[in-house]
């Protein structure tokens, strides 16, 4: 049995079902990220694990114990909130020590554990300060410190970096990854930022509309998205989608044409299911799947905007049939709006059927 087992949980608010039967398993020490757009139920699911929301149906077990309806304090979980939820009238020390003080842990032990957490998070010098005297990043560290000292079975993070500026967010992301390496605890992390999900997670759970769209490692989700939604959500810049049509379908390969392509493309198998010949499909290409090739271009696009990121360039272009296309290229591409861009594809495009499911992968 897994360390954390979420079995077919449902959350109902009146007539509104926010989580619609989600099952997830996490192993001890794993870093799981729930990712999805606003309103997909990821925070609600996290709060259900914490016990802050009642579970309408299904079960939640931690370390083999069914804790579906247990009090939050009895679940051995610690949570870091988006707003940090630091007690404003208490010093940093008291904020970190609060839970232990409530549970009447001996003072000497409280002190030792607070100092240890402060050392790990490098906030020893801040222990006497009040939260209002701290920067956003420092507050975040204190919130994490409050979670660490409890030695929980599972750490829950609810969009902990969303209130920080871009630079600090990157820095704290690295620190959370280091912390996970250092203490090796099971962590469940909620974010709507797919970059955070990709960089932190051992496994990502992509949610939409209260349902799991796909579970997998960041590489799996990037390389083999199960459906159009995951393909579009994971990866930045976004995948380019082009309309296509099946010319020929066989177990070993299929041939697809597109109004954007100069000639049909061959997609090698194996396939989870074969589409009908002449059926419409959607072709997906990652930004790095394009390269400029004037000798034998597969498609031609017109440059609209170029974004120079220093070491790489993002090119926003429009295909001959009017679809938007995003290409990433290393180095500094000297392109101007209006330039014709002859492109070849590196590797085969992802193919999604009329229902939006990938022909290559059907993991859900």
């Amino acid at each position: 049995m897994s360390f954390l087992t979420i079995d077919n949980v449902i959350k109902q608010f009146g007539n509104l079902q926010v989580v619609k039967g989600v099952s997830i398993e996490a192993e001890k020490g794993e870093f799981i990220v729930f990712v999805g757009p606003s309103g997909c139920g990821k925070s609600t699911l996290l709060r259900m694990i914490a016990g802050l929301e009642e579970t309408s149906e299904g079960t939640i077990s931690i370390d083999g114990e069914d804790l579906t309806h247990a009090d939050p304090a009895d679940r051995h979980v610690a949570m870091v909130f988006q707003s940090y939820a630091l007690f404003p009238h208490m010093s940093v020390y008291d904020n970190i020590a609060f839970g232990m003080q409530i549970n009447k842990v001996p003072k000497a032990e409280i002190k030792a554990r607070v100092l240890e957490a402060a050392r790990i998070l490098q906030i020893e010098a801040l222990l006497e300060r009040k939260p209002r005297q701290l920067s956003g990043g420092q507050r975040q560290r204190v919130a994490i410190g409050r979670a660490i000292v409890r030695k929980p079975k599972i750490f829950l993070f609810d969009e902990p970096l969303s209130n920080l500026d871009a630079e600090l967010r990157t820095q704290m992301r690295v620190e959370i990854a280091k912390l996970h390496q250092e203490i090796g605890a099971t962590m469940i992390y909620v974010t709507h930022d797919q970059v955070e999900a990709m960089t932190l997670a051992d496994r990502i759970v992509v949610l939409r509309g209260g349902l799991v769209e796909q579970v997998g490692s960041p590489a799996e989700l990037y390389d083999r998205p199960a459906n159009l939604f995951v393909a579009g959500f994971i990866g930045s810049p976004r995948m380019t989608f082009l309309p296509g049509r099946i010319e020929a379908a066989g177990d070993a390969e299929i041939r697809v044409s597109s109004s954007a392509f100069a000639r049909p493309q061959t997609i090698p198998g194996p396939f989870a299911h074969l589409p009908d010949v002449n059926s419409t499909v959607t072709l997906g290409l990652r930004p790095e799947s394009f390269r400029i090739d004037a000798t034998d271009p597969v498609l031609t696009a017109t440059v609209e905007i170029t974004e120079h990121l220093g070491g790489s360039t993002i090119v926003h272009a429009r295909t001959s049939d009017g679809n938007s296309l995003v290409m990433a290229t290393s180095g500094r591409a000297e392109l101007c709006p209006g330039d014709a861009l002859p492109l070849a594809c590196i590797g085969a495009p992802h193919v999604f059927d009329a229902q939006g499911l990938s022909l290559a992968a059907t993991r859900r």
Binding site: L52, P72, A73, S83, A85, F87, H89, G99, I102
Partner: protein, 290 residues
Amino acid sequence: MKTITPQAALGYLVLAVFVFLSLLPLWMALKIALTHPSDVYTSAASLTPETFTLGNFLRVMGLPSDIELTASRASPIDFMLALRNSVIYTALTVSGQIFFSALAAYAFARMSFPGRDLLFFAFLAATMIPSMVLFIPNFILVKQLGLLNTFTGLVAPTILMTPFAVFFLRQFFLSSPKELDEAARLEGASQFQIFWRIALPIQKGPIATLGILLAIQSWNEFFWPFLVGRDASVRVMAVALSDFMSQTGRGNPDWSGLMAAIVLSIIPVITLLVVFGRQIVESLQTSGMK
């Protein structure tokens, strides 16, 4: 340099008139309190005391004074006893109301139980009942309980809570982030521990404001203490001042003594307003009560 428009000048003028009209009675009370009793009528038209003396204040407080009066008027009231009673009455009312109102307000703001909103609206509706209507049943109840002329009887109707205090604090509890309660809950705090150690200390500003408002209200409370606390041992300042009025000679009241007592009695209230005035206004604005 900032120029003042005619409209602004008119505004300031109107404000100045209001300030003058508001302060005039206070100033007149102070002027009479500083005037020798024999000169009260001769200097009535003047805005300043003709003969300046602190004797009225001294004799009101029962201290030796240079003002010689007849025995019946020498000590108009037992000022210090009335002061003590007012302090006890105010302290009991304020501390009780804040504690119990905060408990109720927190429950209305944070806990979910059947009929919560209905109960709260019933509570709010109670603010519309004129206090006069409640005096008679409350008086009969306190009398039948044998609590007349006791501090228990004095504070009985108000020590638990008032709709105003509950509504005022509920607004602040509602505005404090729910995550704080949830964080404490995850740490293992009970509902009362969350209230006592998190919710209440965070609201110390509004609670202080409420305390000041309630203190001013209790300090000035007259009718209820007048009904149930006539005995000197529990008679509060407002009642003592009124008794003093009725005891002095008809047609020739001891105005200077009375005004000295009034000035002394309002010093605590004025002090509270001067020191905490801004905080009171800010808290009232935040609570949406004004």
